[in-house]
Amino acid sequence: MGVDDQSITGVARWVPVKRPSLAELYRTHSPGALRLAYLLTGERDLAQDLVQDAFVRLFGRYRDLRDSNHFEAYLRKTIVNLSKDHRRKGTHERSYLSRYAPPERVDVPPTRDDELRVALMQLPERQRAAIALRYLEDLSEQQTAEVMDTSVAAVKSLTQRGAAALRQQLGGEAR
């Protein structure tokens, strides 16, 4: 394959682009990811599974991400989609933790606000996702719409209806 000497305009400069390691990404983003997954699923073990799967999925294509600086946004969207897939299929893989690091199990304290957790789980999936993204993640309506692949108007509606249903379920305590 020929390369014309005159066409080589000079040795290019290499510009360092520091990318965090996968371990750093995990430590930085896993707590927030787990909180979101917990509100979406209402189950600790399932939330752990979803977060694991989300990281594995994203790490597998980390170098292909269009903008690795937006890892958190990719992660958030992946978790929402995995939660949706889980609910749609009605099945999920059991925790890899129990497979790789058996039999030690940590006793999980009961949920302090089980009433809210139950009420949240009774919401339709999309309302719950809108509530979690707006209330927990503090996303704007526009950002929430992007994560959910829907319109801003739909996000407004889902959030309002979800919040109203929660208030009703909680008997006004949340107000």
């Binding site: 066409s7 080589i8 305009t9 510009v15 371990a23 917990y38 890899y96």
Partner: protein, 304 residues
């Protein structure tokens, strides 16, 4: 945040705070990611192996130390078989379901051909591709790789859109468009000539050209030190380019994207991955009067 109920928000945040990451999970995630990246790379390799082999062989044969060499006729290998999309089939799919999927694919107006690869065929192909790296497959069970359909799209079809469509079909586990490059190549924009399109379909040619360029770039530093027994430059992990970059050690060299920017002009993103950092650059490639010209581009990476 006028639509947010503050009390409800505080309760939701407190509820979410009840769950905390298990430190042991980190190693599990990293191990799984490592395995997945290996498998993904392997599967991608299966799809693009013909392009890569063609590119490397082409660069090795055609590169000359001085002067210029015209490209071979543009249509010399335009008829090579290619696969634009790989559709991975659920392990649990029955024979009838696979046939149903095949029928659906063949009925798709953008599908030119759909070839089924069984688990065994995928494994054999994988072994062949990594014949010189048996550690990749020696300990793998023969059914480790998923069944798939390798789909060739009609000219002009958008591989990403097609992939999204295929993903909704029953029994489809995952879909990969061929490195998203093909669709950009086949949509070079207005004014492209058939010749340009034909060349632009040859990602392997440009890859070979870039490798040739990189080879020339280091020629002053004693390029022969970095050539393998066949005179080829090995950019891979642990490859013989590594001595040029001892500190920090070079881990990988990748061609990240190839974008047509006009008739006969392309931009090629290359990436050198070191421990702890990545150096990236965009090169410019132009085809003029039957020859390819490549220049050290501007620093920084232009995303696809």
């Amino acid at each position: 945040m006028n639509t947010i109920d503050d009390n409800l928000q505080q309760r939701l945040k407190r509820l979410a705070d009840e769950v905390t990451p298990d430190a042991r999970v980190e190693q599990v995630v990293l191990a799984r990611a490592h395995v997945k990246r290996r498998l993904t790379a392997m599967m991608s390799g299966l799809v693009i192996v013909a392009m890569l082999i063609g590119g490397i062989a082409g660069a090795s044969m055609l590169w000359q130390p001085k002067g210029t060499t015209p490209l071979p006729p543009a249509d010399s290998d335009c008829d090579n078989p290619r696969h634009d999309v790989a559709i991975y089939v659920d392990d649990a799919a029955t024979g009838a379901e696979i046939e149903g999927l095949r029928a659906e694919l063949e009925a798709d107006e953008e599908v030119e051909a759909a070839v089924f690869f069984s688990k065994k065929a995928a494994f054999e192909e994988f072994k062949q591709h990594y014949a010189d790296q048996p550690e990749f497959w020696e300990n793998l069970p023969e059914d480790a790789l998923p069944m798939s359909f390798r789909v060739t799209l009609v000219d002009g079809a958008n591989a990403k859109q097609a992939a999204r469509r295929f993903k909704t079909l029953p029994q489809v586990e995952d879909v990969r468009a061929d490195s998203a490059m093909r669709e950009r190549w086949t949509n070079p924009g207005n004014g492209s000539t058939p010749t340009t399109e034909c060349i632009s379909e040859k990602g392997s040619q440009v890859r070979g050209l870039v490798r040739s360029f990189m080879k020339r770039r280091i020629s002053g530093a004693g390029a022969e030190r970095f050539l393998d027994a066949k005179g080829r430059l090995n950019f891979g992990p642990g490859g013989n380019l590594a001595p040029l970059y001892p500190d920090p050690p070079l881990e990988d060299f990748q061609i990240v994207f190839v974008d047509p920017v006009g008739e006969g002009s392309f931009e090629v993103g290359v990436s050198l991955v070191f421990q702890g950092g990545t150096y990236e650059e965009t090169l410019s490639v132009q085809r003029r009067a039957g020859r390819m010209f490549i220049s050290g581009g501007r620093p920084g990476m232009k995303g696809p």
